[in-house]
């Protein structure tokens, strides 16, 4: 069955084919939410996620000529997005965690409270506590390990996908993920959380 997704993907996979403004518009509509979500989970800031999503598609449009079709379009887009987040993180290295743990804690909590309104209040509370602890624990790992960790457990991406997005070997992704999970678990254990 031919879907918009497959049409768009095949049209961009062929490097010889000219990507028109219309096909790029389709791609944007298809991947806009996911790109935003990944950026959002990495930066934890609505406005910044919005700005970086716009920047991501702008760069993608400008780099259309260099896309050789050797990976999926969404992988390519997410690679641009993750690079943008990384570049942004270099200039504002600590702001994300300050917002997450400190100043904007209430803001994050309110989001999760809204989200967890459906399950029972106890489950909601527990999940929120778990998440807060995990986010705090992630402070102990490197930026790349954090990205891998979040792509894996928040975005449920496969190791191969993560490797494609970050331009790493699967073995390296696996090793860094293992280190990140060990560190997170260690921090959580110290807090006698689990």
């Amino acid at each position: 069955m031919e879907t918009i997704l497959t049409t768009a993907l095949t049209s961009v996979r062929e490097p010889s084919e000219v990507i028109t403004a219309q096909s790029f518009d389709q791609l944007m509509r298809l991947h806009q939410r996911r790109v935003y979500r990944v950026i959002f989970v990495l930066v934890r800031d609505d406005d910044l996620a919005d700005v970086l999503t716009q920047e991501c598609f702008l760069r993608a449009y400008q780099k259309l000529g260099s896309f050789r079709g050797d990976c999926r379009v969404d992988t390519w887009l997410l690679r641009i997005a993750v690079n943008l987040v990384r570049d942004h993180g270099k200039s504002r290295r600590n702001s994300f965690w300050k917002r997450l743990v400190g100043l904007e804690e209430e803001r994050i909590d309110s989001k999760f409270t809204l989200v967890l309104a459906q399950p029972s209040p106890e489950a909601s509370l527990l999940a929120r506590e778990e998440l807060k602890e995990v986010w705090k624990a992630l402070d102990a790992v490197s930026a790349q390990q954090r990205t891998i960790f979040l792509l894996r457990y928040a975005e449920e991406m496969s190791l191969a996908e993560i490797a494609g997005v970050l331009g790493l070997a699967i073995g390296s992704v696996k090793a860094q993920l293992f280190r990140a999970t060990s560190r997170v678990r260690e921090v959580l254990r110290k807090k006698q959380w689990r």
Binding site: Q54, E130, G171
Partner: protein, 152 residues
Amino acid sequence: MEMIRRLKRNVPEEMFIADDRHMGETLRHLPGLTRQASERPDEYWEKQHSAIWDRIFSAQLHATPASPRLAWAGIAAVLALAMTLLFVGSASEPAKQVQNQNGSDHELLLAVERAVQIDGPEALEPAALLAQEINGNNQTHSTDKGKQNHED
């Protein structure tokens, strides 16, 4: 050293799978939470979509204020002008310098002669004689030339 690095890099498969599964189970709420936390109304996406196109058009507009051909033509024109000015300037300068030098020499001689004729000091007598002699030569040259011209 390299062996330790390899061991660190190569996590045993079973250990990794168990660890990954356990963490996935621990964080089972995370995907749903992030999805719902990043959900926005349709208007938001439309607005963002328009903003992206605005930025694309704006970037294109700023990236190409003039076509590359026009830019190169401008550069070439400026270079040509600079070269012309350089050559014209360097060619006319020596001639001007010679003219100026001749003119100033003649004026100096006249000034010395005038000063001596008026009432010059004794020390300037050799200079006055020299000036007279040069002037005399110039006059004979010019009269010779004049004769030649008349003969022509």
